[in-house]
Amino acid sequence: MQRLEKFTQAYPQIPWRGQTQVLGLILVIIVLVALVAGFYLSVSARAASIGRDIQAMQIQIKEIEQQNETFKAHLASLTSSRVLDARLEKLGFRPINQEDALYVFIPDYPGRRPVSLAPALEEPIVSAPILPEVYTESIFQWLYRQLSPYVLPMFEVK
């Protein structure tokens, strides 16, 4: 117990105590700066890495788009009239003659129509999400909607 008292008495008087405090403060600042720098480096490294990923994906998108075009061209070649004619001939089919044709009446069949490869401008896009009213109305509108079935009949003139 006496030893502890002596130490607590002597410690404030030791000459390097003040220097230690300054040094400690500097160390704390350095550690804080290092922490901030480390954090900054970590974030910027992640940002750079994601940036590189974006660049790589952009190249990939371009490649996929080009592949798509090539596939479409390949499909078109496989379904070209020359290829199909050759296949049909191989399978034993022959072009129909006028006298071979048998015509049948099909109610509600409008006949062959030109192709529709994309929706027309005036057609609604069915896949577009339609938000329910509850997501777009104000609280007063909601309250009005909720209460109106009960309140409005009270004001009706009988």
Partner: protein, 599 residues
């Protein structure tokens, strides 16, 4: 410490402390010195990124039922980065072996020493993915085997680069090539729809700045692909008509053959077949296939004197104006003198009293010249103008010729021109103009603008072009009257154009060819125009054989081609014979709903 050396330490301390100050001042000076800013900024910008042009994929071209007529496929540009080339000989050998490129040319390009003006050289374009794969395998194998070798002549494909890009491809090859056109090496469309709609098909390229710094990486702007086109052409009909023109040209020893198939009700072009044709995948054969002034598409680019098919326009104008009726009598003496010119018939014969129906049936020049004089010059040329003769038909195809129609007031117009124009001489029109003009007769007097694009697909939305009225030169009753007259005259003549089971209206044409020394009588333009079924016309077919050698007469060479064309069309278009159709339309009326027929 020795006091004598103290000043040295002080000086060293001062120098060390002044150094950061100088650096600081210099840094500040650089920041405000404009020259320095520009110079250093310029150097920085060189390495900060690059401008990249994003080329959108060229729009597709489909036929009316969605079959692809033009698309794109990935091919490669093979080049060398001169800085990294180690052995030009290996590069030239490999390229020669894999792509068949000329060894000497490749060797020369790859041997160029690198300099500020020579960094990269293109060796070949249009290299297929399979060829690139082979080159990559060779490169890899060489790297494995000789990669560590320091020998100067060690085989190496170092420096070779592959850049993918999209190239136009036409899966149907020459089918429809005359109205599709082609895209050349610099991605520019020529002729047909490729030329006419080039800007829309190509889309808009975007130039973007791509920073090297990944921290600044951003998503690329959305560059929409070029607009895609859905044509009015039916691939099957087109293919069939092309087969027919080839056959007709060969059989009749003609210089060229052309068939135009229109839907008179809408102006949609269902087929446009002509000779010669090019495989647009090999557009470099253009000069060989189209020597001299040979037009790419005769149907729109070659005007000619149509001859007697033109008579239907004269007769319709006369009927419409009321100066004649089908029963009006003309006394044919075998010669008609007008404006100083003597007009004779095709057989130099005199036919005596003839009705207008007989005039058409026997294709009498004298009679039609007389009808034109009854109409009068002012009205005659007014009608011709309304038919669209002598001006563009408005078809959406590149390179349309306007033809020529001399009119009163023109320096080279004489009174006699009225008489000769009446039967298709002294006037030049393209097959599409003739087909368009005569479509008025098949469509209750209304000419719909002939067109080849049915709809456009842009940004995921399909826009239909619609059908537009070009003019209404004659009344519906007139159209029906002349159609009936023409159908009857074909039936009386037992024409080669008649199609069993289907009633068609039509007219032959044999036009002499003008030369600097007058008209030839041994080389002609043989034509036939017809439409059907008469009570509900669904097609109009215009046939033109240029300089046939087996016979000079349209009735003998062009009419059978029309018959063949219609026999194929009715099958491809699902048009039942008249008797069946009328029976089926009775059922349709009884159900009171939309209905159709199928084979």
């Amino acid at each position: 410490m020795n006091r004598d050396y103290l000043w040295r330490y002080k000086f060293l301390g001062f120098a060390i402390s002044i150094l950061p100050l100088i650096i600081g001042i210099q840094l500040f000076r650089i920041q405000i010195d404009k020259e320095q800013i520009d110079a250093i900024g310029g150097i920085g910008a060189l390495y900060a990124g690059e401008f990249k042009t994003i080329e959108p994929a060229r729009g597709m071209i489909y036929d009316r039922y969605g079959n692809s007529m033009a698309g794109n496929e990935t091919v490669y540009e093979v080049g060398v980065e001169l800085k990294f080339v180690r052995n030009p000989d290996t590069i030239a050998l490999a390229m020669n072996l894999v792509t068949g490129a000329d060894y000497n040319e490749i060797f020369e390009s790859a041997s160029i020493p690198e300099s500020p003006t020579a960094v990269y050289r293109v060796l070949a374009r249009g290299v297929t993915p399979e060829q690139v794969e082979r080159l990559e395998i060779i490169k890899e194998q060489m790297q494995d085997k000789y990669g560590n070798s320091n020998a100067k002549d060690a085989p190496s494909l170092s420096g070779i680069r592959f850049s993918p890009y999209l190239e136009r491809i036409y899966p149907e090859k020459s089918i429809g090539s005359n109205m599709i056109g082609f895209v050349n090496f610099d991605q520019t469309g020529y002729f047909g729809v490729e030329g006419y709609y080039n800007d829309m098909l190509a889309g808009k390229s975007t130039v973007v700045w791509l920073p090297t710094d990944p921290n600044q990486a951003k998503g690329l702007p959305n560059t929409p692909d070029g607009v895609s086109l859905v044509l009015t052409i039916d691939r099957e009909i087109q293919s069939s008509m092309e087969e027919l023109v080839d056959k007709a040209k060969k059989k009749n020893g003609a210089e060229s053959a052309t068939i135009v198939v229109l839907d008179p009700e809408t102006g949609e072009i269902l087929a446009m077949a002509t000779t010669p044709r090019l495989d647009p995948n090999e557009y470099w054969d253009f000069e060989e296939i189209f020597p001299g002034e040979t037009p790419f598409n005769r149907a729109v680019s070659q005007a000619y004197e149509p001859g007697s098919v033109y008579k239907v326009l004269t007769m319709a104008a006369g009927l419409d104006l009321g100066v004649i009726t089908p029963e009006t009598e003309f006394i044919d003496t075998g010669v008609f003198d007008y404006g100083g010119a003597k007009i004779y018939n095709w057989n130099l014969g005199a036919w005596g009293p003839v009705s207008m129906l007989e005039c058409l049936q026997h294709s009498l020049n004298t009679c039609h010249a007389w009808v034109a004089t009854k109409i009068g010059a002012y009205n005659f040329y007014d009608y011709m103008h309304k038919y669209g003769i002598g001006r563009s038909s408005g078809v959406d195809l590149a390179g349309e010729a306007t033809g020529r129609l001399k009119k009163p007031g023109d320096e080279d117009w004489f009174e006699a021109d009225l008489a000769v124009n009446s039967f298709g001489q002294g006037v030049a029109a393209t097959p599409i103009q003739m087909a368009s003009a005569i479509s008025a007769l098949a469509n209750d007097g209304v000419i719909m603008t002939p067109h080849i694009v049915h709809s456009l697909i842009s940004k995921g939305v399909q826009h239909e072009i619609g059908h537009h009225v070009a003019s209404e030169p004659i009344k519906p009753e007139t159209a029906r009257t002349i159609t009936e007259m023409l159908a009857t005259s074909l039936e009386i003549e037992a024409s080669n154009a008649l199609v069993p089971g289907y009633r068609v209206a039509g007219k032959t044409g044999t036009g002499e060819i003008p030369t600097p020394y007058g008209y030839t009588n041994y080389l002609t333009n043989a034509s036939f125009v017809g439409w059907g079924p008469v009570d509900d016309p669904q097609f109009l077919v215009y046939v033109w054989l240029e300089k046939p050698t087996t016979s000079i007469w349209g009735s003998e060479v062009a009419a059978p081609v029309f018959k063949d064309a219609v026999e194929r069309l009715v099958v491809l278009m699902n048009i039942p014979p008249d008797a069946v159709r009328l029976e089926l339309s009775g059922k349709q009326t009884s159900t009171n709903g939309e209905s159709g027929v199928s084979q």
